[in-house]
Each structure stands twice: as C-alpha cells, then as structure tokens.
Amino acid sequence: MTITRKQFLMFAAASLAGVAGAKVVSGAEVVREIGKKEGKRWAMAVDFQKCRWDQGCTQCSAACNRTHNVPDIPNKAQEVKWIWKEKYQTVFRQESELVNPTLTGHPLSLLCNHCSKPACTKVCPTGATWKREEDGVVMMDWHRCIGCRYCMAACPYGSRSFNFVDPRPYVANINPEFPTRTRGVVEKCNFCEERLAKGQIPACVENCSERALTFGDQNDANSDIRRLLASRYAIQRQPELGTGPAVYYLI
C-alpha cells in the first residue's frame, strides 16, 4: 500500500492535534467539593471604632505579615499588602460626611472580602484562584498563577497585590511554617486558611488587643459574628456590585 507524502503529513498533523487535544481535555479542572457538610461561610466583622491605628497600633497587619511572610517593599507603588488601613471616607467615598459625622476620620481595616460571587475567580484564566465551596474562602494557588493580573483588574476592592520583584529579601524574619511567594504571582489575604485547618482563628483577629475583629461562620445562626450582626448596624463595601462580600463594617 503506497501512501503519498501529503497523506502522511496530514495523518501526522491529525495525530498531533489529537494528542494535544486529549491533553487539554484531560487537564480540564473540575473543582471538587470536599465534604460539603453544613456549608460554612467564614466571615469577619470589623468594629473599626475600636481601632487604634491612628495611635500607632499595627497589631493586625503586623501579625498577618509575620505569619505569612508578607514582604515590606520599599517602593510603595509596588507594595504587597494583605490587610491594611484606610480612612472611613476613603473607603465609603460617596457617602456624605453628614451621614456618620463621628466616623469620617476613623481608620478601618481592608482585606480580601472573600466574596460569595468573586469577580476575581471569574476572570482567572488558569484557575489559580477559586472559591472553596465548603467554607467560602477565596483561595490562591501560587504554583499555578501566571501573573497576568487579570484578577487585580477585576477586584472592585483593590484587595490583591502583585509581586513585582522577588519578595524574599524584603521579608525581615521568614516564618518557616509558611512559604514565601516568588516574583510574578498575585497574592492576597487567605483568611488564614492554613490556621483554620488547624482550628485556629486568623492571625489578625487573634492579635487585635482591642478585639475589634470578630471572625466566625456566618451560616451558623449561633455564631458570635451572627449575634454581633444582629445587634449592630453594619455596612459592606460596594454591595450593589453583587459580589457578596463576607466582611462587615460595624457602625
């Protein structure tokens, strides 16, 4: 049986396409839900009127940075931050100052809101960031992130940071229990998921001596955070965008 060169080349090309296609299809990521028992949803309430940042307190951000090897980048334009402080009127910009006059100058903590419908996970082209179904934590896989920064463009809250340079030289004391990141990946608050796995609360919550941060399962009607939200008026950042944030600011 003779086969022309053209036929041979077409066969080879078809085989190559088949192999490549199979590889792509088999690699299709299926987000697996592990033990979706009661459906937890971790949430945080920030009682920012207790915050003493303007008196020099940095307990929450220092604890986070210590625990997670968050670098202190000298060029502030390219800084990396997981939890930080802004003034109330910066965060709730369009609110008239007359609505809550006592709150205007207050610092409040900003962090990833671990949304129920995250804008960032929607746009990630590799699945390097995704929402964990069983407890609502928006996760980061630093092994897979390609550093395209689409998630940073999509986040309405500015919660994400990019490693413009190798962060290791800028971490004062590396905590060996947690990896650092490499340059070229995006990072953000992970709700201390590695601590949650051991039954501990997030580092920022544990270290705030004023007890300004409350953490808990918002799906559990008897949790501290639910009781707090029932007794106090709370607002959220840009809820009209439909992202469903899990961080509440208590008024």
């Binding site: 697996r32 592990i34 995704w130 964990r132 069983e134 996760m139 896989d141 630093w142 092994h143 190798d166 290791r168 590396i174 060996p176 229990e177 990896p179 650092t180 990141r181 490499t182 998921e193 796995a197």
Partner: protein, 131 residues
C-alpha cells in the same frame, strides 16, 4: 576544491564541539563522582519505597501538592500505612536536608528542581540541627 577544505574543516570543528561533554572530562583527567547523599539521621523509612521515590518523587510531590492546595487534604496516607502532614517544609525537609540531599543529586544530574525553593523554606529542625 577550495571549498572542500572549508567544508571538511568546518565539519571537523563541529564534531569536536558537539562531542565536548564526552571527551572534556577525560582530557581534564577528572572523574565525575556520584554524589554522596546525607541520609536522614533519625527516620528509618521514607513515605514510599525507595525505588518508587527514585523513579517518581516529583509525581508524588505534585500529587500531594495539588491535593493539599486545591482540595485542602493536608494529611495523606502513604503506601507504608502511616499518615503524614503534606508539607514540603515540615515533612520532606523535616527529614532531608535540602543542600545535602535534594540539591546534591539535582545538581549532579543537571535536573533543575522546578523552583521549589523560591517559595518553600528549609525546616527549622534541620537548619537548627546543622548549626
């Protein structure tokens, strides 16, 4: 006629350069030594049989990693029946010293480790002991 000299000369130079890795060691009269690995001081068995670790430790690392990071499965049951914490730093580097074990073979065989160490730390246990 002129070209023949150039062509054969060029081919000869190419062959010399191409086979450099084969003859240069002999020429420099050095003998490549297989690496002497420092085995863990206290642990008697690895998480998997040595033969399978030799063949496929990267696959095991990746499987543990994907399971830990993406599925939250932090304790794994190894083939030896024991359960381990799926952590590169605490479990793997808790027994093996990176410099005396991992890097020795990887450096010798020129198989660059896929940049684990840009992010993952040495275990304090080992580095503490080394000091």
């Amino acid at each position: 006629m002129r070209e023949r000299i150039l062509i054969f000369g060029g081919v000869a130079i190419f062959l010399v350069l191409f086979t450099y890795p084969v003859w240069h060691a002999k020429a420099a009269s050095t003998q490549a030594q297989p690496p002497k690995l420092q085995l863990p001081a206290d642990a008697k068995e690895c998480v998997a049989p040595i033969s399978s670790m030799r063949a496929a430790h990267m696959q095991l690392l990746i499987d543990w990693r994907e399971n830990a990071v993406r599925n939250g499965v932090r304790r794994v049951h190894a083939t030896n029946g024991k359960s381990y914490d799926a952590s590169l730093t605490r479990t793997c580097l808790g027994c093996h010293s990176r410099a005396e074990f991992c890097d020795k073979c990887h450096g010798y065989s020129g198989v660059s480790a896929p940049s684990c160490w840009q992010c993952h730390n040495e275990s304090k246990l080992i580095s503490g002991r080394a000091q």
